[in-house]
């Protein structure tokens, strides 16, 4: 038999318990919901799973609104729960402030990197142009084939790039740097273009080394730019989530618990008052009954003195309606 839910559950929470509203929940809780028929949920007190918070299991809607502002967690409205919620609110506030500071620091870094990227790109354009022209000069003096000659005589690169991690405001950014590999053959004492073009080839080599430096720096800046962008987005997401969802939810929960506790207290108070009233009425009734009895006794005594028993006369009249074996009427 399905009893209607007690009024106190309906009074504070939404008028409608929309069954379909539970699809907002993360899928981990859906199995929990499936185990119990929905109608019983109004009365169900959620069991605490090991290590997890009760709070993530269910979310009620205040006054039937679907916005994040109106949500609160479903909890047992006890005093300990109130303490727990208050502690969590304090934690959320502190976390929010810290994340905001982190987001600001990251944004400052981001702007600085952006400025550097712009200048580096411009200088890269200049330097690449200069190095291409140095290559053309070398080709002009030492013959068109110089590119092939140099390429054929090289076994492995002598200028290499390596990467390392740098920690900036808590975010790990990659940084590239170039270094010259000493084992990969001599670079300075190369005899290419001995008879013609040697100077131009060395100048071309120097120009290209500068170009590599600029390119490596630009690569580090751009990867840091992308990584920082991701980090800023995540941090801002968290800040907004804390500010607009978690904290209002916790505040609403705290208000709800307070409200419930107040109502419990009022109920108790009311119950107490009611019982007091009963007791008082009981006492009064007894007093009244005692008084009446005393009066009747007095009246009896008086009538007996006069020779009549009112009580017995009464009794006869009353008893006459009943069956008595002694009376043979």
């Amino acid at each position: 038999m399905h009893f209607p839910p007690p009024s106190r559950f309906l009074g504070q929470t939404g008028k409608e318990r929309v069954e379909g509203a539970f699809f907002f929940f993360p899928s981990a809780t859906s199995s929990f919901l499936l185990r119990f028929p929905v109608g019983d949920l109004n009365r169900r007190i959620p069991k605490k799973k090991e290590g997890s918070q009760i709070a993530v299991v269910q979310i009620d809607y205040l006054e039937g609104r679907m916005s994040g502002q109106g949500q609160r967690l479903t909890v047992v409205p006890t005093v300990t729960m109130l303490g727990v919620m208050k502690a969590r609110l304090v934690g959320a506030t502190r976390g929010h402030a810290l994340l905001k500071k982190k987001s600001d620091a990251l944004t400052v870094q981001f702007r600085a990197i952006l400025k550097k990227i712009v200048t580096t790109k411009e200088s890269m354009g200049e330097i690449m142009r200069a190095s291409s022209f140095a290559l053309t000069e070398a080709k002009y003096v030492a013959g068109e084939n110089i590119k092939h000659v140099v390429l054929e005589s090289v076994k492995s690169a002598s200028l290499r790039v390596r990467s390392r991690q740098e920690n900036v405001a808590g975010v790990k950014l990659p940084r590239f740097e170039h270094f010259s590999d000493p084992g990969a053959g001599d670079t300075k004492a190369d005899l290419t273009g001995l008879a013609r073009g040697g100077q131009q080839i060395q100048a071309c080599r120097a120009a290209h080394i500068k170009a590599i430096e600029v390119l490596v720096e630009l690569a580090s800046l751009q990867t840091s730019f992308l990584t920082l962008d991701e980090a800023i987005k995540t941090t801002n997401r968290r800040v907004n989530a804390l500010e607009n969802v978690i904290k209002p939810r916790l505040e609403n929960t705290i208000n709800y618990i307070r409200g419930e506790l107040d109502e419990l207290e009022r109920e108790d108070f009311f119950r107490l008052k009611k019982i007091q009233g009963y007791k008082k009425r009981e006492i009064e009734r007894q007093l009244q009954a005692a008084k009446q009895f005393a009066e009747e006794q007095f009246a009896e005594k008086v009538s007996l003195k006069k020779g009549i028993s009112i009580n017995s006369a009464h009794n006869l009249l009353v008893a006459g309606a009943e069956k008595d074996e002694d009376i043979i009427f």
């Binding site: 013959g143 190369d190 001995l194 013609r196």
Partner: protein
């Protein structure tokens, strides 16, 4: 018999002389270069060049032009003209024209040998060779395992054979740095060319000896300057200087001893002064010495 060469000249050289004059008038002038400087894109350059002798070679190229394509096609024109002249020439002009290509042949041989040493693909290497320096058995250079085989199998049939056998023994070939080998071969080639030019005498000997002397001296100065600060020893340097030219022999001694660009410039100036004072110098020689002087000054600064 001086003065009567013009009687019989046309029999052998008339056609080619006419062709050469035609080419001379087809060279790009200062106005052409100015126009090319005004161009903004590669298509503009193609348009300007289509009005010159290079037009037919660039016409059929598809629209997104690349700088290497333009260079390739222009070189192709040079090669075609050269081959045409070579076909029409008789002795000794044909040998003379072939001598011009030996320098490129040396470059190609060195390129292929280096590439083979580093295990590159033969086809790629062949594509990178200069077209003027190709000869028939060039692809077989990639097959040889060491220098001795290389010489025995391939080079002995080419006109480069005497350069190898004269200057380089087979042990040297294995150890030597590739640049030093190239320069040694080139030295031998220059000397050979010089000797060949002296044989016909007359105008050939006069003009060519000036040009070749200038080339030898220029190379000597270049080698000196470029080998300062490298591992090339003085004796090696000395071996790379050709044994003709105006700096030979005393200038070479001085140059071999140089360790600094400033010293080099001083010696060069001294030599050039001596040369200019000597009675055998012709104005063309002095003029030709002015050009490398400018180059030296730009290095120095």
């Amino acid at each position: 018999m001086y003065g009567f060469e013009a009687l019989t000249f046309n029999i052998h050289g008339g056609y080619l002389e006419a062709i050469v004059r035609g080419h001379r008038s087809g060279l790009l002038t200062a106005a052409d270069y100015n126009n090319l400087c005004q161009c903004e894109t590669l298509d503009d350059i193609k348009m300007h060049l289509s009005a010159t002798e290079y037009g037919p070679y660039l016409q059929n190229e598809p629209s997104p032009l690349h700088t290497t394509t333009i260079v390739e096609k222009c070189t192709l024109k040079l090669v075609d003209e050269y081959k045409h002249m070579l076909c029409q020439a008789t002795e000794p002009l044909s040998t003379f024209l072939e001598y011009i290509t030996y320098g490129h042949m040396i470059d190609n041989v060195v390129l292929i040998v280096t590439g083979t040493l580093h295990e590159r693909d033969v086809q790629e290497l062949l594509e990178k060779c200069h077209p003027l320096g190709m000869f028939d058995s060039i692809a077989t250079l990639a097959v040889a395992q060491n220098m001795h085989e290389l010489y025995r199998l391939v080079l002995v049939d080419t006109p480069l054979a005497p350069y190898f056998s004269e200057c380089i023994t087979s042990e040297d070939l294995d150890d030597m740095n590739i640049e030093i080998m190239r320069n040694t071969l080139y030295k031998a080639y220059l000397e050979d060319f010089y000797k060949f030019c002296q044989k016909p005498g007359g105008a050939t000997a006069e003009i060519m000896s000036d040009l070749l002397a200038f080339e030898a001296d220029r190379r000597a100065v270049n080698i000196t300057i470029n080998s300062i600060g490298t591992e090339l020893t003085r004796d090696d340097r000395r071996k790379l200087y050709s044994n003709f030219g105006l700096l030979y022999p005393y200038g070479h001694e001085e140059l071999a001893a140089c360790e600094d660009i400033d010293q080099c410039v001083c010696h060069y100036l001294f030599q050039a002064k001596e040369i200019c004072r000597s009675p055998s110098a012709s104005p063309s020689v002095i003029g030709s010495y002015a050009i490398p002087w400018e180059m030296l000054m730009s290095w120095h600064s």
